[in-house]
Point group: D2
Chain length 257, copies 4
């Protein structure tokens, strides 16, 4: 039984983590951490800080979905104490992550992932693997109207991975120069030479399609998600994987295949 | 049995028409027409002009997939003689078509269609019908790398049909202003307010997707084609339909539903 | 301003109706009806029965998303009083609906729809319209694992509509006889001659794809939904449409295009 | 410059190989082999047997797309002579392949692949890689009406690969027991526990979709092909890869990533 402490247990992501850990057979929530209140949620004790929590309970893993302002302090308490950390909170620089990992007790792992959705991570891994075999590649992402920037960070990252992995041979796909007058943008945004198209509609949550083509064939990899619960299998995978690893590990793909 | 004369019978489209008419149970090729040679193809006589053909054989319908320079002359012979015409040759103005139809014998039909692919025509009809019920609509077209302009004429026409049919209520989808620096074009080309995206790959022939969205739902209409034979059901539909119609008719949708 | 009374206003669907009507510019909720309690929700009065409601407030339309056991009684009060009814509650036979409509005051409309999702209704209408032009048609539906029957009612209904609308010409698609030993079911369920396939996954809410094919082309119509809010545009369309209609009307398609 | 001999050079696949090799910058056709005639195709000599060919020209690689009755003899000549072989001809047992490879000169490679389409091979590799992370997986294959069996060999193989790779945890997807009376087959064919659905239409050549699902997310991998040229990048990859390998190698995936 993996003993899990959940920092930010009462937040949107934290409470989903609590539910997922509670439901899993091989792990349990041993405490929640919340500086704003230590009222117990009923099934586990709650502490105001990681320090207090580690004094009181025995935890194997700290899961942190909190705020940029508090995550570094949490990790600085847990890692030297030999508690593996699974972190989804963004905002830490690579340097800070490396420094925190360097201060960890031997055998302790700091795992950070910008994206815990297994399917999205696999989509990017597959795009990287397919890129050398197809001259043409384009990315289409589909998001809800409330998304304020285009294209999405995942689409940009996917295009960059494709650009790094593909053969230097130039694709034969025509570009912006073929756009008809008044139809600028038809060929999308070029991200490192890969066209990226962004579709917006109230009918989507978050989807992405990567299309590879060569003569007479098309390979399409698509990911659709519409629920933050889609993060949870990745969080559980992180919790199960850190026990056997050490040092700083970045990206869920490190634990996949 | 509908008696069909085929102008341009030896060309790429014409020979496909000959095959399709020959295969159909309810029609037959009674002659081919080709100014460059009158050698018989074996199963039907060939004439150098429509005039000669109509003198020699009895035809119900003339199918014309020829050249802009000859089509008007062909129709000017056939229509006054009471022969219905099914025309896929482009280049005739609306005025010329109307004049040719005006000179037709009573009960004779001049049918012209810019696109004979049943699925593409239905895609546009359905897009028009769906537009009033969805705030968001975008068009993605997929073509082979050898296509020299973007977006395709069908995509532009589809966007225009959507713009005409949709409610004046402004879509909530964010536009070009949300494109990140260096990612101009991500939100596509705006055609009458409808974003249109063009994907190019050696892996496609001609495909198009129209995506409609409202809260929590998406309706997608997609057409794929990779063979000029996909024109033939539309040509046969035209041949079967002109007998019961009169005057100028434009667009395959006139005979569909 | 259309004045709307909402029976079952506190239920799952009813409260979504209240939200949608409140948000719309051209209508308002004038009362809720709930036999289990008449505590006001704050912005409108609540009555224990339709009779009491109609005594107290002036309503143009009654929306009923209640139970099979109460809907008939509600309609029997509202229709003779000249209140148009928009009904999503299932369980009323065609005979009962016809009888209720016959007792309505002149100029009053009883509108019942088994499905208020605009996209799903259009998918079926488009399938019906496309069927005559394609020899092959198949239906694939995708639902969450908790769906207890296969195929879905919408898929069966879609297949029946296709079967009624298509030409009697037999499709050339091979059937169950081509299934390899041990792979029975590969060609799906035959519903009136149309193959229907059901996919189940925790990754879906409710999606369906209708695929039409002829030589060298494919026309695909797909609907995805993952939120009961996708019903609401259809309910508002019903509310806006009943005022100009009379008698029994069944199916949202009656008000679309 | 890789020197390539093409057995069956005049056949459907062989002539496509000749075109592809000729077009590539880093290889050339040094001879064709055809027992039925040795008339030169103009740009390279033709021999009646592999033995005669190897006597006359210096070849690095023999590509064999011939018949089950002749392939073993061809390989038995080429491999002991130190010529690497790239084989797409089916019908050789694993035992025969192993024996032929055992008789090869040192440093010589016998490469056999049942499928040379890069995209189809990647689809299967990706399905294998994704399987451990998703409780639900289903396969849908789409082929032309002239396909005489269902499901396709590729679909069956994909399902087997998923079954081997996935966790033993039972999927929550309901099965055949949820099929409604008269709708047997809706849930597809079960291949090692993975539902497989086969769609048939004149509108397809060969496509396949693998759908993985977990709570709130779907990962879809799709491959479409409509031209035998889609085999050629895989054949060229084989020709380029055998020089650095030795012994029997089966499957294009051996050379991919």
């Amino acid at each position: 039984m993996i003993r899990v402490a959940v920092a930010g247990y009462a937040g949107r992501m934290g409470s989903a983590v609590v539910d997922a850990v509670t439901t899993a057979d091989d792990m349990e929530v041993v405490c929640g951490i919340d500086p704003h209140g230590t009222e117990s949620a009923g099934t586990f004790p709650v502490f105001a800080s990681v320090a207090e929590a580690l004094d009181a309970v025995d935890a194997d893993v700290l899961v942190d979905f909190t705020q940029p302002s508090v995550v570094a302090g949490n990790l600085a308490m847990a890692l030297p104490a030999g508690v593996d950390c699974v972190v989804g909170t963004t905002g830490l620089s690579n340097e800070t992550l490396a420094q925190l990992a360097a201060d960890a007790a031997p055998g302790t792992c700091l795992f950070y992932a910008p994206n815990f959705t297994t399917g999205a991570v696999l989509m990017m891994e597959f795009a990287k693997a397919a890129a050398p075999y197809f001259p043409e590649a384009e990315v289409i992402e589909f998001h809800h109207c409330n998304k304020k920037d285009a294209p999405s960070g995942t689409a940009v990252r996917t295009a960059q991975l494709i650009a790094e992995a593909r053969s230097p041979r130039v694709s034969e796909a025509p570009g912006r120069e073929t756009e008809m007058p008044g139809a600028e943008g038809a060929r999308g945004a070029l991200v490192d030479g890969v066209p990226v198209h962004a579709v917006r509609s109230m009918g989507y949550v978050a989807s992405q399609e990567v299309i590879f083509g060569s003569l007479g064939q098309t390979l399409t990899i698509r990911h659709d998600s519409w629920d933050r619960n889609s993060y949870m299998p990745g969080v559980l995978l992180g919790i199960r994987s850190v026990g056997e690893r050490e040092g700083l590990i970045v990206g869920l793909e490190s634990f996949m295949g």
